[in-house]
Amino acid sequence: MNGEHPFLDLAAPYALGALDPDETAAFEAHLAGCAACRAEVESFRDVVGLVGLAAPPAEPPPALRDRILRDAHKVRPIRSAAHRAEAPEPAPGNSVGEAIEPGPVEYTRPGAGRLEPPPPAEDVLVPLPKRAAARRAWLALATAVVLLLAASALVLREAGARREAERRAAAAEARARDAERRLAQRDEVLATLLSPRLRTATLAATGEAPSMRLYWDRERNRVVVAAFRLPPAPRGRTYQLWGLATNRPPVSLGTFNTAADGRATLALAVPAGLDLSAGAVTREPEGGSAQPTSTPFLIGSWQGE
C-alpha cells in the first residue's frame, strides 16, 4: 500500500469501475485536483479496454450487422463542429460522452419548484425503439414479481411471515419504481444527445472553476445539462438555469443541484418555440425565483443549427 498517496492505489480499481459507490465519489472528488492520479487512471484506460480481447470468442448472428446499421441510420452523429468549438475540457475523461458510460452518473430531479419533470412518454425513445420495448418488458416483469410476492403472501399461514412478505413486496415495488425512474432519466439523456436537431452551449466561468455543457433538443424541447466541478448549493439554495434572449426577460429553464462530486447530469423540459441566444446559471433560494436575483456565474451562447 502506498502510505504517502493512498488515493493512488484506487486508480486501478477505479479504471475497472470496481470501486464501491461512496469510494468512487470520494475518488472522483480527489481526481479533480490531482494530476498524478489522473495520469495513473489514464495509463490504465487502454489496458482495461483491451482486457476484453481475452473474452472467449463468440460469433454474433449475421443479422446484428444490419440491425446496427439500421439503428444508426435513424440517428445523426453529434455534429463535429459543436465539439471543435473552443471550450475548456472540464477534466480529463469527463466529456459528457463518458458521463453516460461506466461509473456512477449522478441524476438530480429536475426543477423542484418551477417545471414538471419530463413525462416518461413513449415518444421520448424515438431513436432507439428497442429501449421502449425493453422498459415496458422490465416494468411488466416488475409488476409480475409484485403479484407473485402478493400471491405467496396468501399461502403463508403464519401472520408474522405474511407481514414480512408484504413488507418485502412493498420494498420490491419501490425498488422497481426507482429503477424505472432512473432508467427513464438515463434514456432521456441519451435520446437528447442522439437528437438530429441539437444545439449545444458551453458555459464558461466568469470568475470560478466550474463549467457546464448544455444540449438543447429543439425537436423534443429538452435541455440536457452536464455540470462539472460545481460544488453543491448550500442548504436552502439551489442553482437555476436561464435562457436569455434579446429584448426579453430571462426565461427559467429549471432548478437543479449537483452531487457531492460537483457533477450533475439531468434533462429539463423547455418551452417550445423559444429563440434563445445564451444560457446562464445563477444561485437562487431553494425552489427557484421568477427572475434572477444575482449575477450569473456561468454564461455561454448557443451554437449549432
Partner: protein, 198 residues
C-alpha cells in the same frame, strides 16, 4: 470476417473520424473489425445471445453517435469500443440482478442470476492464428498473471463486481482484493505497453 491491416486499409482512427462526418460505411467497417470482439465481451458478461446482441447494438450506435467526441490521442479505438460494449453489457447485467434479487425475496433461495463469468481459457494453438496479434498479446499477458490476480480481474471485468463484492465472493479481506487488482492491472499495463494504438 478477416481483414488484413495494410497500407490500403484505413486505420481505426480514420474510420472513427469518417463516422463523425456521417459516413455510415465507416461504421460498417468498424463493426466488421470489432463486432465479433464486442459480441464476445458482451456474451462473456451476460451469458446469453439475445442480451449480448442488445448490448452490442447499444454500444455501436453510441459509438456512431459520439464519434466526434473520440480523441485518438487518449485511447485506442479498440479499447474505446471494448469499453463501450462492456459498459452497456454491465448496465443490462445490473438491471437483471435487480430483477433477480426481487425474485430471491419471494423464493427465499439462492438463484444463479449473478452468473459468474467464464474463466478465461488457455489459448489453443490453432486459435491464435485466427484472432490476431492483439488478442494473443492479451491472452499471454493474462495467462502470466498469478491465478489469484487473474481471478480478481475476471470478477471485476466480466462480472462487474465491486471490490467489496469480490471480497465477499472470494472470502478474502478487502485490502487483499485491492492489492491484487492493482497488481494485476499494473502487470497488464506493462505487458500491453507494446500494443500499438491504432
Amino acid at each position: 470476417m478477416v481483414e488484413q491491416q495494410g497500407a490500403t486499409t484505413p486505420p481505426d482512427a480514420a474510420l472513427v473520424a469518417a463516422m463523425a462526418a456521417g459516413d455510415e460505411s465507416a461504421l460498417a467497417r468498424l463493426y466488421d473489425r470489432y463486432g465479433r470482439t464486442a459480441y464476445s465481451i458482451a456474451y462473456a458478461i451476460l451469458g446469453n445471445g439475445a442480451d449480448a446482441e442488445e448490448a452490442v447494438a447499444d454500444a455501436f450506435v453510441q459509438a456512431w453517435a459520439q464519434a466526434a467526441t473520440f480523441d485518438a490521442r487518449r485511447a485506442s479505438v479498440a479499447a474505446w469500443l471494448c469499453l463501450l460494449t462492456r459498459s452497456r453489457a454491465l448496465d443490462r447485467l445490473r438491471a437483471r440482478r435487480r430483477r433477480t434479487r426481487t425474485l430471491e425475496l419471494a423464493a427465499s433461495k439462492a438463484d444463479d442470476g449473478m452468473a459468474l463469468p467464464l474463466a478465461i481459457p488457455e489459448p489453443a494453438p490453432d486459435r491464435m492464428a485466427e484472432r490476431g496479434e492483439a488478442r494473443e498479446l492479451v491472452l499471454r499477458a493474462m495467462a502470466e498473471l498469478p491465478e489469484p490476480q487473474r481471478r480478481v480481474l475476471e470478477l471485476a471485468y466480466f462480472g462487474g463486481l465491486t471490490q467489496s463484492e469480490i471480497a465477499e465472493e472470494l472470502g478474502e479481506p478487502l485490502g487483499t482484493v485491492k492489492t491484487r487488482t492493482r497488481a494485476a492491472l499494473e502487470k497488464l499495463r506493462g505487458a500491453l505497453a507494446a500494443y500499438p494504438g491504432s
